[in-house]
């Protein structure tokens, strides 16, 4: 009992009975999900099951039919203006295609949230932006480049740097390793794990990358049949009796990784 209440305190994001639909099509039906402080939650599901819909609903980019979403124990619908601002500062989002502002350089992209929320002198913003660029493993020359001049992997890193600009406590990553080569993807996974350890981040990661799931995710949640089918460790996944989950985690591509670990 004691451990569950301690666990309750550590819930960063709590989704209860969430229902989302478009027209007559119900995408998510009474979905429940908790994310705990300091963990990396991997979110998987077949294409079209609503992983992105869930993330966009949590980020309030989509409206919901019913259910509550509490982030840091604050219900956004009932929050005051000040609480909403404080909440926004604690969230960082890495969109699937980066969503960097194409008219701004990488450095300016990172400084957008700083400029908006903090009153820092330009010299310090420059220094912090360069620090973030270095933290995500980009070359210092990338700072003054425009997004159209970057490669796919560099765009992901730059977008991560922007997501981390305000040192958020909860980071949403939408397929962070898609489109990266295996070495780059592994580096990116390590980077996320390292940032989690040093900055104490909580990470919500939508991914299809089995390597990421096996190597960095503390917990995995599977979306299916309009709700969270199963959540738990990789062992729970392997033991779970569902044909999709079985073929996902015990398929040809997964088997070689399981054997290694």
């Amino acid at each position: 009992m004691d451990s569950t209440s301690a666990k309750q305190d550590n819930v960063v994001l709590s989704v209860k009975d969430l229902t989302v639909g478009f027209g007559s099509n119900i995408v998510l039906d009474k979905l429940n999900l908790d994310i705990y402080r300091g963990e990396i939650l991997g979110f998987v599901g077949a294409s079209g099951t609503g992983k992105s819909v869930l993330m966009r609903t949590v980020l309030r980019l989509l409206s919901r039919r019913s259910g509550t979403i509490r982030i840091f124990d604050t219900d956004f619908d009932k929050a005051t203006e000040a609480q909403r601002l404080a909440l926004d500062m604690k969230l960082g989002v890495l969109f699937q295609h980066g969503a960097l502002f194409s008219a701004l350089t990488v450095k300016e992209n990172i400084q957008v949230p700083m400029r908006e929320y903090l009153d820092l002198p330009q010299a310090m913003m420059d220094e912090l932006a360069r620090l973030k660029i270095e933290l995500v493993g980009l070359a210092p020359e990338a700072a003054d480049k425009f997004p159209s001049e970057l490669s796919g992997g560099m765009i992901k890193r730059a977008a991560l740097a922007r997501a981390l600009a305000l040192d958020p406590a909860l980071v949403f990553l939408d397929e962070p390793t898609s489109g990266l080569d295996p070495i780059g993807a592994a580096e990116f996974d390590e980077l996320i794990a390292k940032l989690r350890d040093t900055l104490g981040l909580t990470v919500y990661m939508v991914t299809h990358d089995l390597d990421s799931l096996f190597s960095v995710c503390d917990r995995i949640a599977v979306l299916g049949q309009k709700k969270v089918l199963v959540e738990g460790t990789i062992e729970d996944m392997l033991a779970f009796d569902d044909s999709w989950v079985q073929s996902y985690f015990r398929g040809k591509r997964a088997r070689s990784i399981v054997r290694k670990t």
Binding site: L85, M89, S102
Partner: protein, 394 residues
């Protein structure tokens, strides 16, 4: 209001958002100990940086940093400490960091790079004044030349034909052309009608007002008829279409360029000019003369209406006067210009569309440039036609 909310937000995130630091000298040896407390986060970074600069002091001596009182630390705060530590170590001082049990602030500090890598810059010697003045001029001249070459390329490719299909030299795609005529021609009819009606009415009213002094009010028919048919009709229609369809062409082609759709066409062996530009050029060349005819009718109708209501000239008088005032050459001289205007608008819009780069800003810039340039060239060409007609007495 918003700044107030922002202040509240700041209060909310950190109850007393300040970064405290107390210095004590080390017992036994040369050096000092910094006891840190409070919130070492980006909101307090300015004050913290100032305080650290004050106490940086002797760089050679030993330093102990005690983080046990720190309530909160993020990369901004950690970076300030990292910087101070690096500075102290550079002077030969020893630095040690102690952390509260269970906190990872020391790890965070040590995870940061010792100093930021400077970008490799390869800057030549600063440009002389001569260069600074003449570089933009030269660049503009080269751009004009490049535009001219690109325009010729597009015109040439379009003349060559729509697209190369296997076994065929060229193929027209009637569906695409009809679709474009519908979009750029038919849908523009209402606005062209309204605009031309008003223009005709305004010219007639102004003309009648001035001619009234000479008792020559009926000559307003000559004025409106010749002016509209020779100049205003085609010119204003072209300007309207440059704004309406030229911008659309640039935006469409430009955003296709941004999303690599143009490249996709190329690797399929299709000519982007043939597939995208050619139907639009043909559609414009067909639509603009037709719109000009509609515009002329609307303007004359507007003029007739004002002549009747303002000057009491009946429709019968208006028509018979009009028949005397204009002949076939008046109409032809105006209509000949229309296809040229259409080609100018289409080509300028396509050239600008194909120049769009990777950013949303460049799309906006080229759409603007497309409209401005095509209106400018349209007016320029209209002037050239006027000189030409005067020279050949047409």
């Amino acid at each position: 209001m918003l700044s107030q909310a922002r202040e509240d937000a700041r209060d909310l995130t950190a109850a007393s958002p300040s970064a405290e630091i107390v210095t004590e000298s080390l017992s036994g040896k040369d050096g000092e100990i910094w006891r840190l407390s409070g919130h070492w986060v980006n909101m307090t970074a300015v004050a913290a940086a100032k305080r650290l600069a004050e106490i940086a002091g002797k760089t050679g001596s030993a330093l102990e940093i005690d983080l046990t009182g720190v309530a909160e630390m993020d990369t901004a705060g950690a970076w300030l400490l990292r910087r101070a530590i690096t500075e102290r170590q550079a002077g030969g001082g020893e630095v040690s960091v102690t952390d509260r049990q269970g906190a990872h602030y020391a790890d965070l500090i040590s995870a940061l790079p010792e100093k930021l890598a400077e970008p490799r810059e390869e800057k030549g010697p600063p440009a002389s004044r001569f260069e600074r003045i003449f570089t933009p001029i030269g660049r503009a001249m080269v751009d004009v030349w490049d535009d001219a070459v690109a325009a010729m390329f597009i015109l040439g490719s379009a003349v060559r034909g729509a697209q190369l299909k296997l076994g065929r030299q060229s193929g027209l795609s009637p569906a695409a052309i009809v679709h474009q005529i519908d979009r750029m021609g038919v849908r523009a009819v209402p606005i062209i009608l309204l605009m031309s009606f008003l223009i005709g009415a305004i010219i007639a009213q102004q003309g009648a007002f001035q001619l009234r002094y000479f008792g020559a009010e009926v000559f307003v028919v000559d004025l409106v008829g010749i002016l509209q048919l020779r100049e205003i009709g085609v010119l204003l229609t072209a300007i309207m279409i440059a704004g309406r369809s030229g911008s659309a062409i640039t935006a469409e082609i430009g955003s296709m360029k941004m999303r690599e759709e143009i490249d996709a066409l190329k690797v399929m062996g299709l000519s982007p000019i043939g597939v995208l530009v050619f139907p639009r050029l043909v559609a414009l060349t067909v639509a603009l003369p037709l719109l000009t005819i509609i515009a002329n009718f609307a303007a004359l109708f507007g003029a007739a209406f004002v002549a009747w209501s303002y000057s009491g000239i009946t429709f019968d008088t208006f028509l018979s006067r009009l028949r005397e005032a204009i002949d076939l050459s008046t109409i032809v001289s105006g209509m000949i210009k229309a296809p040229f205007m259409a080609l100018i608008i289409g080509i300028v819009a396509s050239v600008e569309g194909l120049k769009v780069g990777g950013s949303a800003e460049s799309l906006g810039r080229h759409v603007t440039a497309s409209v401005v340039k095509s209106i400018f060239v349209v007016i320029l060409v209209d002037g050239l036609f006027a000189m030409f007609y005067a020279a050949i007495d047409f």
